[in-house]
């Protein structure tokens, strides 16, 4: 790479510009190459850094006043001057990225040389990145617009004019640029269609070898921690053990089940159902984490879990799980009824003793997991009405079918981790089936939501207003089936997170209230012994053990 340090001929001009401070971004070599620019420069050699107040003002001032651009490197104070004869129009859109500017340099023999260099403009960004190294590029802080200066390599400067200097419109934020220069430039500038690339062979280039720190400790070498129980953190640690977000969603589905059930709304039973389900779910999640410590430590997604990091001992976690499960099932039993407690215990057993081991044995685990997800609304329902009517099964069916597009799309991007850690998931062992199942169940979702009014669980409005959501879900599942790449899987997963709460909400507001408790007329109901069931639930509050 060329060394261009320069002592200006006319000092007065330099002095004038000394008060102007600019910041330059110096492009990385690979960035430069990938843009088709044939120039790059080393920070120590280029020797100029400044702060750009604004692109516009710099260029216009630059053009109007003296037609030169001066920079002085803060550290080594070497200077360089550039002339830009191209940006004559101040109103020019400076977001177009590559400009050619003329560089005037002194080659040491007192002769001023003019050569054209390409300058890469980057949009405004607030990113701060301070890397200074002798070998690599130097990147400096810019609060405002910035100009990247690239210079001709001495060796290739001769071919510079023959090279095709095509301007490329590349809109990039600085932080994006600094994060993944090569891929972000390529993705932005390349008109090729989206490719689901997992591996890119990096060209072996000596100049791009990273600088080695000699005698440095590994970044986490200081991370030895004593295993203390910090009382103040215990609450949040217990929440992570219980996978609080997941538990919250499970409790919401149980509440939805309670709301949909035909019994009267009893706040005590409602709270007991929710809290009981919450505790049971926490216990199940904790036991799951206890079983999977070495596997979780292998996968990126789970390596910061409490037991993996050793913040609590396994015995402590299991004590917590035991307490939670006793509390959960107990609250369900005495607060709601025996059936709810039974279902809660069943769910706990299914999740910990069937689903968790099965994850490593066969792909059937996905189906078992879907059943586990379908049980909480049943718990809520049973807690309210004391029996499992058609509506309960509709809700369970909705939750069951929802799990497939949700989980299959999530697991699609985790294939490398699953494969190494030894989890048997459809996405790894049978990708075609994975996509087909997701699509099939999205269509099944439409069927169930149409069935709900037919069976009298909701009014007909539910079938109509759930159609957009289910339709879009099916469309995304179809795209996932067809494309089978990370983009479509992520879209499907994200939408499934919105889809379920929306459907549950619509379900509740379209609830068929035709059998209201406060009607004096005997309700014509699908459940002939509803009254008995209600009294049964009252009895069970007192008697069931």
């Amino acid at each position: 790479m060329a060394l261009h340090s320069y002592t200006p001929q006319n000092k007065s001009r330099v002095a004038d510009h000394c008060s102007v401070i600019w910041i330059w971004y110096l492009a990385m070599y690979n960035l430069v190459n990938s843009l088709g620019l044939n120039v790059a420069v080393r920070a120590s050699e280029i020797g100029h850094v400044g702060k750009i107040v604004s692109c516009r003002s710099v260029i216009s001032r630059f053009v109007s006043e003296h037609g030169v651009l001066l920079c002085r490197h803060r550290k080594c104070s070497s200077k360089a001057i550039f002339t830009n004869n191209e940006c004559s129009d101040p109103s020019q859109d400076l977001s177009s990225v590559i400009k050619q500017v003329e560089l005037t340099t002194n080659n040491g023999a007192g002769i001023m040389q003019c050569s054209k260099v390409k300058v890469l403009l980057i949009e405004k960004s607030l990113a701060l990145k301070a890397l200074v190294s002798n070998e690599g590029p130097a990147v400096h802080h810019a609060r405002l617009g910035s100009v990247v200066h690239v210079k001709a390599d001495k060796a290739t400067s001769k071919d510079e004019k023959t090279k095709n200097s095509q301007e490329v419109e590349v809109q990039l934020q600085v932080d994006e640029l600094l994060k993944r220069t090569k891929s972000s430039i390529e993705n932005a500038s390349d008109p090729k269609p989206y490719e689901d690339i997992e591996f890119i062979e990096e060209s072996r280039d000596k100049k791009r070898e990273k600088t080695e720190l000699v005698g440095a400790l590994r970044p986490n070498a200081l991370d030895w921690k004593p295993q203390h129980v910090n009382i103040w953190k215990l609450g949040s640690q217990y929440s992570s053990l219980a996978k609080d977000r997941l538990t919250g969603l499970v409790v919401l589905t149980a509440m939805a089940g309670y709301a949909m059930a035909p019994g009267p709304f009893d706040p005590v039973t409602f709270v007991c159902c929710s809290v009981g389900t919450g505790f049971t779910s926490s216990a199940a999640n904790t036991i799951n984490q206890f079983f999977e410590v070495p596997y979780d430590s292998q996968m990126d997604r789970t390596r910061n879990r409490i037991l993996v990091r050793g913040l609590l001992t396994p015995f402590h976690a299991m004590c917590f799980a035991t307490v939670c499960s006793i509390l959960g099932v107990g609250i369900l039993n005495y607060g709601a009824n025996g059936y709810a407690a039974g279902l809660g215990a069943l769910n706990l057993f299914l999740y910990t003793s069937v689903y968790t081991p099965l994850k490593r044995i066969s792909i059937v685990n996905t189906w078992v997991g879907s059943v586990v997800g379908a049980i909480p609304p049943l718990i809520g329902w049973v807690g309210s009405s004391g029996g499992l009517e058609t509506g309960a099964w509709i809700m369970a069916g909705i939750l069951y079918t929802w799990q497939f597009p949700h989980f299959n799309s999530l697991s699609w991007n985790l294939r490398p981790d699953y494969s190494r850690a030894g989890y048997r998931m459809m996405s790894v062992t049978n990708p075609r089936m994975c996509k087909a199942v997701a699509l099939r169940h999205s269509i099944g979702m439409i069927t169930i939501c149409t069935l709900a009014p037919v069976l009298g669980v909701t009014t007909w409005t539910f079938a109509v207003d759930s159609l957009p959501f289910n339709g879009y879900l099916t469309y995304l599942a179809w795209r996932f089936y067809k494309d089978g790449d990370s983009k479509s899987s992520r879209k499907l997963f994200m939408f499934s997170l919105i889809h379920l709460p929306a459907i549950l909400m619509l379900l509740i507001i379209s609830k068929n209230h035709g059998k209201r408790k406060d009607d004096d007329v005997a309700p014509k109901d699908m459940m002939p012994n509803k009254v008995n069931l209600v009294s049964l639930s009252q009895d069970s509050l007192e008697n069931v053990r």
């Binding site: 490719e195 689901d196 690339i197 997992e198 591996f199 890119i200 062979e201 400790l217 590994r218 986490n220 070498a221 200081l222 991370d223 030895w224 921690k225 004593p226 295993q227 203390h228 129980v229 910090n230 009382i231 103040w232 206890f290 079983f291 410590v293 070495p294 430590s297 292998q298 390596r303 993996v308 990091r309 050793g310 001992t313 396994p314 015995f315 402590h316 299991m318 004590c319 081991p357 490593r360 044995i361 294939r415 490398p416 699953y418 494969s419 190494r420 030894g422 048997r424 790894v428 062992t429 049978n430 990708p431 089978g484 790449d485 990370s486």
Partner: protein, 179 residues
């Protein structure tokens, strides 16, 4: 009732020699303590008087524990500590071997695939899509199914054994303090 668990220290209790009061100040104390040990990155469980956990091993991704040997260790506590140490070593060995095998086989697969796809062309930008890589992942998972099953069984057995010993140790401690 304070949940006293084997060799885990509860902050805010009266531990001799430490500046107490609030957990915050103890925590700050630990922070400075860590700084002191930065010259030698290894922490000494004997000084800390409890077990210490380290960073994840770069090859096996398992965190290494250093177990504390109290001066009055009973036979049961000794067995518990040895069981945990053995489990840790077994885990380390397995995952180091497994991960390096994965890495090696992945590299071989990539090279083979690239050669198949691009031939010996040096100038092209060579990429492999997720679909192509998924063939490797499926094959690796299927080939190692038996190994994983054996590991699972052994891991569950060891895990429950360690839990059982932990419960016994806790019970023994409770009975000791009650007396």
């Amino acid at each position: 009732m304070m949940l006293r668990l084997p060799y885990t220290k509860v902050t805010t209790l009266h531990v001799p020699g430490r500046n107490l009061g609030t957990a915050v100040s103890v925590y700050a104390h630990h922070k400075t303590k860590r700084k002191e040990t930065s010259d030698s990155p290894d922490i000494d469980p004997q000084k800390e008087k409890c077990d210490c956990i380290g960073p994840p091993d770069p090859l096996s991704n398992i965190r290494v524990y250093k177990y504390y040997v109290p001066p009055d260790e009973t036979d049961l506590e000794c067995r518990y500590r040895i069981a945990r140490t053995e489990t840790q070593e077994w885990n380390q060995k397995f995952w180091t071997h497994h991960n390096s095998k994965f890495k090696k086989m992945k590299e071989e697969f990539i090279q083979k695939k690239l050669r198949e796809k691009y031939g010996d062309d040096l100038n092209m930008r060579k990429t492999l899509s997720a679909e192509e890589m998924s063939q490797f992942y499926k094959r690796f998972l299927d080939d190692h199914r038996h190994i994983h099953m054996e590991y699972n069984k052994e891991w569950y057995r060891r895990n429950f054994h360690d839990l059982y010993l932990a419960a016994k140790v806790w019970l023994e401690q409770k009975l000791k303090t009650r007396r």
